[in-house]
Structure formats: C-alpha cells, structure tokens
C-alpha cells in the first residue's frame, strides 16, 4: 500500500499528561483522512508532532515510505507537509501576499522582495485550486473564510503534498464550509493528500475516505467512512451512545422580555451594520438568529449588551429602555451574555477559574462587603458552579488559561446562567466543542428556557439553530428578514433566506 504519511506508535507527553499514547495513523496517497476525537483527545498534539512543532517521546514517522525525523516546521515544509492550524498563523498587519511568501520570499537583484513575482505565483495557484483571495488586502480586513484560503495557499506555495487541516470549519459559515469542501476535493484531484480534524460528523461523512478515532490520547482504530455512519462514529469517539436530536418539549412563551424597534448600529468604521432591526423575544422561548457572518449579528449583540453605542432605535428589557446604558447597568438589569470570543471577552485567562466565576458580580454581596473581597464566598460559589456544569479543572484556583476550550466554555455558561438573567444571549456557544460537550450545552439552554428565561441564540451552524431554537429569525444585511418555525422550514430554505435571495417572499414564509 502506498502511504503518503505513516505515524507509527506515537507517544507524546506533557508534564502530567500523556497527550498521545501509542497512536498510529496512516494516510494513503490521494485520500482525505479524518481525525476524530473529543476535546483534548490529542488530535492537535499529534498533528503538531507531524509538523515538527513538538518532538515525540516514542514512535516513528514515515513520509513516502522513508523514515524521517521532523525536528522543526522547516523540515516538515521541505518534506511537503503543510498545516492549516486551528488558530490561524497569520500576521494581521501584513497583506495576503506577504503572509503567503513569508519565509520563502522571491527577491530581485537588490535584495528587495519581488512582490509582482510573488503575486503572479499566488494568482496561478489561486486559479488552479479555486482559492479566491485579494493579494493586496490586509489580513485584518478580510473574512475568516478568506484567511483560511490564505492559510491553504501558504502551504501550497511551499509545495505541500500533504495538507493538515486542524478544525478548519469551526470558524466558518455554512457557505464557506461548502466552498472549503469543494477546495479539498480539488486538492485531492491534483494529487494531494489531506488529514482533516473536525468535530462535525456530517463533514466526515461528506468528504472523507477514512477516519481514525482517538479517545483520551489513545488510538481507537481506523474505519472506512463508506462503511459507517455518524452514530457509530460518535459512540466510537465518546465511548457511549450520543443523541443528536436534542430532546425538548414545545415552548410555552409568555410575556415579552426583549423588544427591539428600528435599531441602527454602526461598526468601528462608522458604517451602519444593523439597519432598522425589529426583534421580540418572549420569556420561555429560544430565538435563534440564523445568518451569514458579517450581517450585523455581532453588532446587534454588542448593542444589546452595551458594548457598543446604538445610533438610533430602541432596545427594551421588560419595557425598560436599556439602549446605551453601561454594560454594568445592562448586566444588572438582567442580561446574561455568553460571548462569541471566549478568550477575548469571556475570560481573564490569567485569573483563576474562581475569580472568573465572579467577573460580573465580584462587587456584590456575598463576594465582597464594603469593597473588600470575600474569597471564601467566591471560591465556594465557583466550586458549586464547577460541579453543576461539569467543568473539568484540577481546582478552582487553577488559571483559566490552563483549561481546554470546552471546559472554559462550560465555566462561562455556568457563570452566566447562574445569575438567572431574564434574557440569556448565547453567541456561538458550541464553537469548536466536541459532540459530548455540545449535547451538554444544548441541554442546559433548554433547561433554562423551561425555567422561563428568554434566550437569544446566535450561531452559524444551521444544525444547532434548527435543533435548539423555538423560533428562527433570519438576519440579512442588518435586518431580520424572516421569522420561521424550525419544524416548518429546512436547511435549503434557510440557506436561501440567509443569502437574501428570498427576501420578498419572507413575509409569506414567516406566515
């Protein structure tokens, strides 16, 4: 058998933990090979070993049948291995072209970077694989999807034959995901081989040939995708049965909690991104906002939570205007917010988990009295939430930084829900989490709904929107263009609505 890459019996330890324990992965030439496992199972670690960022304690790596020793990314590059990292490795203030050529720049005879030559080469690659990029745009100005294409171009520019994708779809919109699938197929057609890490079983079923499952650092085995199904994959991965359809009773909405009328919000560049939006959420229902990234969802949330000033229009919580109040006032009036970017907004990574649990309430009793903190009360609270929400951490004194993404997310959710807010805003609450964690979080959201909270769910995952919401508001170009019930629609229709193509019919669709 012709293997492009063989990783044999790899063992990689970190202080106190065996991240990879005797794992074997074999990548056939021309295949897309999935790597599946829970958060923290060791997938990224394994791939970082292959890419030369980590050195394994044991095991061998063969490339095209030859044993190799990959001690740094340069060697991996030279062996034709390229990696698209889970967190993009792009230099934000640089242009697309600069990022792609970085490290192997073409130069003219004065030692100057030959940008036109670079541009030509990039254009050729981009045409060949259908990777649309704007070569002169700054990374900070382009969409996440394009950033990912830049990452792919980076590997191709270096002549990669084997591409590693670490959770490429976690940050993409559905449209971008389908584009990526097309690109991956094109790559295979050109003779490349791909390793794909993803938590989304559907994607594995859609594009992969084979799948290696890892559980808690150990290799469970490799299956041929054509011979399996999502249920089997999920139980292989978690070690138990997982239900995909979230169990829930029909909602029983009560009084209006949040009312937004004719809201306008501008972004940092003073461009209107929310343009006359109306939205109502009632107690005891989950409203899902479906929409392609960049249609004003973030600005809407920031306006509701007080992180951004509104331009005009009204936001009322229980009939009290809250627009343009300070975030503190808004939080106190009963809004909980699970932010989209947990590292940037959700947590102070250098604070302990305990301290993070009281991030909005530290100044209230019993956590402090007369401005003096009561650490005993704080850590007791934290212990309680950690238990209730199954946050896996050595202790409440551990820094938030040391927790895995899933556990960080659970801690945030615990914190926000525990305050019993009238309105809970959940922005991409399950991004990057494994199916087990997703199941848990969805259950929590529905529990809260059943307790009579109003919940606003923003997600780019249609699955999630369809499964969890009681009502779906489709957002396009700064407005809610449709308001539909999940059981009365399907993904195709939602997709079209989100693309703005059925705007005129929106009225009909939403009865």
């Amino acid at each position: 058998m012709d293997y492009a890459i063989e990783m044999l019996n790899i063992r990689k330890e970190f202080p106190g933990i065996v991240a990879n324990d005797n794992i074997t992965v074999q990548l056939k030439k021309g295949e897309i090979h999935a790597l599946l496992g829970e958060n923290g199972a060791g997938k990224s670690t394994l791939m970082n070993v292959l890419f030369g960022l980590y050195q394994p304690e044991k095991g061998e790596i063969h490339v095209n049948g030859k044993k190799v020793n990959i001690t740094n990314p340069n060697i991996a590059n030279n062996l034709g291995i390229g990696m698209v990292h889970q967190h993009f490795m792009l230099v934000e203030p640089f242009t697309v072209t600069q990022n792609i050529v970085l490290g192997s720049e073409p130069t003219n005879k004065f030692g100057k970077i030959d940008l036109s030559k670079a541009r030509q080469e990039i254009q050729a690659l981009s045409d060949q694989y259908g990777l649309r990029v704007d070569p002169d745009a700054k990374i900070s100005d382009i969409s996440v999807g394009m950033q990912q294409r830049v990452e792919i171009l980076k590997t191709l520019y270096r002549g990669a034959e084997v591409l590693i994708f670490d959770e490429p779809t976690a940050v993409l919109t559905p449209q971008e995901i389908s584009e990526l699938m097309v690109i991956m197929r094109a790559l295979i057609k050109e003779g490349k081989s791909i390793i794909l890490i993803t938590h989304k079983l559907k994607e594995i079923m859609e594009v992969c040939d084979r799948c290696t499952v890892i559980r808690k650092g150990k290799g469970i085995g490799t299956v041929t995708v054509a011979d399996t199904n999502t249920t089997e994959l999920a139980s292989l991965m978690v070690g138990r049965e997982v239900s995909f359809k979230t169990e829930k009773t029909p909602s029983e909405p009560k009084e209006n909690v949040l009312e937004i009328n004719n809201l306008f919000v501008r972004d940092a560049r003073k461009v209107d991104l929310v343009k006359g939006l109306d939205l109502t959420i009632r107690a005891g229902e989950i409203v899902g906002i479906a929409g392609v990234d960049g249609n004003g969802q973030s600005e809407l949330i920031e306006a509701i939570t007080g992180l951004r000033k509104t331009k005009s229009g009204s936001i009322q919580l229980h009939n009290k205007a809250i627009a343009n109040l300070s975030p503190r006032k808004i939080t106190e009036s009963g809004i909980g917010h699970i932010p989209q970017d947990r590292h940037k907004y959700g947590l102070v990574l250098d604070y302990s988990i305990g301290e993070n649990i009281v991030l909005q309430t530290y100044y209230q009793k019993p956590f402090s009295k007369a401005k003096v903190l009561n650490y005993k009360a704080i850590f007791e609270k934290a212990k309680c939430i950690i238990e209730d929400y199954d946050v896996r951490t050595p202790s409440v004194y551990t820094k938030a930084r040391a927790l895995s993404g899933g556990n960080q997310q659970k801690a945030i959710i615990g914190r926000e829900v525990d305050r019993s807010p009238a309105l809970l805003i959940a922005a991409q609450p399950t991004r990057g989490l494994d199916v087990g964690a997703i199941e848990f979080i969805h259950k929590k959201l529905i529990e809260e709904r059943d307790k009579g909270r109003a919940i606003l769910l923003v997600s780019f995952e249609l699955d999630e929107i369809m499964n969890v919401s009681d009502r779906i508001a489709v957002m396009f170009d700064g407005k809610i263009v449709a308001d539909v019930k999940p059981e009365e629609t399907n993904e195709q229709e939602l997709g079209l609505l989100m693309a703005g193509s059925k705007v005129d019919k929106a009225g009909e669709t939403s009865e």
């Binding site: 992180l307 503190r328 102070v348 991030l359 530290y362 401005k371 903190l373």
Partner: protein, 349 residues
C-alpha cells in the same frame, strides 16, 4: 507543585543575590581590589553601626514608595516611568505646605503629606487620562512629565518659595517627620518616621490589590481590557485610577524626602533618581508589595553601603550598581535557575 513554586519564589532571589555578589567579587579581583575588604566595607557602610543602619532605613524609605508606585501601575498593565517627576512634585508640594501653613502638628503633618500625595497623583493623572481617553502611550507622556516637573519645580523654588534662592527655609517643626529620638539612638542619622508610612503604604497596596474590588478590577484591566469591559468594569476609570494611585505613592516618596530627610527642597540640577530606581525595585520585587519592601531594603543597603567602599577599600561605588544590575538579570532570568534546579532534581532521581 505549589509548594515547589513557593520554594522557587524564595530560592530565585536568594541565589540571584549570592551570584550577584560573587560576580562583584570577581570584578573586584580583576580590577585589583580585595573583595573581602570591599565587602566588609559594604557591610559596615550599610549595617556597621546604629548610624549606618539608620541611614540605610532612611534611604530605603522613599525607594519602597517609588517601587510601589511603579509596581501598582504595572498591575494594571501600565509602565510608570514617571515616578521620577511624581516624586519631585510631591516633594515640592509637601514642603510648600510645610512652609506656608501654621497649624498644630496633628493637622499640619497630615496636610503636608496629603499635599505630596495629591501632587504626585496629579502628575500621574494626566498620563492616565491621555492613555485612557486617547490611547497615547503612557511611557512617552511620563518621560515628558518628568522634565516638566523638574523645570517647573525649580522655577517655583526660585520665584515663589524663595527670593531667587536655591534652597527653601526649613519646614515648620509641626510638619516634620524627623524625630529627635530616632536620631539620638542612631548617632544622628536622618532616619525619620517616614519608614512607618512607607511600610503602611506597602500594606495598603497589598490590601488594595489583593483584597478589594478595586484591586480585582485593576488587575483584570491589566490582564484583559476587553473582558473587563464586557464584565462591566469602567476601563478608562481603572487606567486613570491606577496612574493616580501610583502617582500618590511616588508623591509620598517625595514628601518623605521633603518632610523627613531634608526638611527643605532645593533647586535640582538633575533628576533625583528615586523614581528610576523605583522601576528596578518594583521589578526586582516582582511587583508585589512584600517583594517591593524587600527589594527596597536590598537596594537601600547596597547603595548606602557603597559609600564606604572607596574610602575603606578603594573600590569605586559603581561596583554596587553593577552588582544590582546583575542581581536583576538573574532574577529576571529565573527560568535558567529553575532549569538548573530541575536538572539537579532529575539527577538526584
């Protein structure tokens, strides 16, 4: 693991000091001096008798405060190079009040001290404000504010506090921190009650930072602006507050000099260096209150002791600067000490 960390926390500075002193000995040998004689002189100069001990304490006092000033701002992620200017204006304001007001000690002394703190705060407020509202880098503004403080203070001494003289009158006894008693037991060193204020300030800093909601907010802003804003904290207010409190500590350091050590203020032809040394003290004390106190004592003792070295051992006083610099390097590079220690452990196994 935690006990290990604590052990390292103690071990690193101790090893650093020892290695720094050893390096100093080598330098003395290389430049033809007798290290034993040199260090004996250093010791005598710092702790040899009651007088030197008194002077060492006196020298330590403002260093504790400027160290706190820098450390406090660091906790909020700000670099206060402006402690120097804050010291100068604090000194000026304290002496001014000490001269201008006639009141019983119980009113006068606190008033003079508060004046020093307020002046320092004011000097910290402007960089804080510009940072918070306009995002102007505090490092440049504080550097500029140092020069402005120096020149304005000199002019005020000349034109307002005196009639074109270089030194003011001595402050009223009711505003003085000096103590006959302390002086008499230390052979007339200039040790004064300021050390108690400095230690109290260290305690206050510790308390604010570690035990109050203010500290919680300040540190949070220092770690993550966005999350702090998300959590409802007023980021601008915290940035300004941090510079203002830092400035108050530095202003207090100036008040110590004005009300304790000198009782006057003179036209300065250059910076006092108290603020700049405060940076080193803060960093050496890893920006926490207890660390700052210990680092200031080390600093004060070395600098005080240095004075004895040229006369008693012929060693230039600058040796002490070299030693302090090396100690700072070793503490900062504690990574290497940890690494070596880990090696040792592994070998033991």
């Amino acid at each position: 693991m935690t006990s290990n960390n604590k052990l390292f926390g103690l071990l690193v500075p101790v090893i650093s000091v020892i290695v720094g002193l050893l390096a100093g000995a080598v330098i003395m040998l290389l430049s033809g001096h007798d290290p034993i004689q040199g260090y004996a002189a250093l010791w005598n100069g710092a702790f040899g008798d009651a007088y030197t001990i008194g002077e060492t304490i006196r020298r330590t006092t403002p260093l504790i405060l400027t160290g706190l000033a820098v450390a406090f701002a660091f906790k909020t992620g700000l670099f206060n190079i402006g402690a120097e200017g804050q010291v100068i204006v604090g000194w000026l304001a304290a002496v001014w009040v000490g001269l201008a007001i006639d009141a019983p000690m119980i009113v006068h002394l606190p008033l003079a001290i508060i004046a020093g703190m307020l002046a320092g705060s004011l000097w910290g407020f402007l960089p804080g404000l510009l940072k918070a509202k306009l995002g102007v880098h505090e490092v440049i503004i504080t550097i500029m504010m140092n020069y402005i403080a120096l020149f304005i203070t000199n002019e005020i001494i000349r034109s307002v506090l005196t009639d074109q003289n270089t030194t003011t009158e001595s402050i009223a006894g009711t505003a003085s921190l000096a103590s006959e008693w302390l002086q008499s037991i230390t052979f007339y060193s200039r040790v004064h009650y300021g050390i108690l204020i400095a230690l109290l300030a260290a305690f206050i800093m510790w308390f604010i930072i570690e035990r109050t909601t203010y500290g919680y907010e300040l540190k949070s802003v220092g770690h993550n602006l966005h999350a702090s804003n998300y959590a409802g904290m007023n980021v601008s207010k915290n940035i300004i507050l941090s510079m203002v409190i830092g400035g108050a500590f530095a202003g207090l350091a100036g008040a110590m000099e004005g009300l304790g050590t000198y009782g006057t203020i003179s036209v300065m032809s250059g910076f006092t260096n108290l603020g700049f040394d405060g940076i080193a003290v803060a960093l050496l004390g890893s920006n926490n209150a207890i660390g700052v106190v210990l680092a200031a004592i080390l600093f004060g003792a070395l600098k005080e002791g240095a004075g004895e070295m040229p006369t008693a051992a012929g060693v230039p006083t600058e040796l002490v600067d070299i030693i302090i610099a090396l100690i700072i390097f070793f503490v900062a590079s504690s990574y290497i000490i940890r690494w070596v220690a880990l090696r040792f452990k592994k070998e033991e196994k």
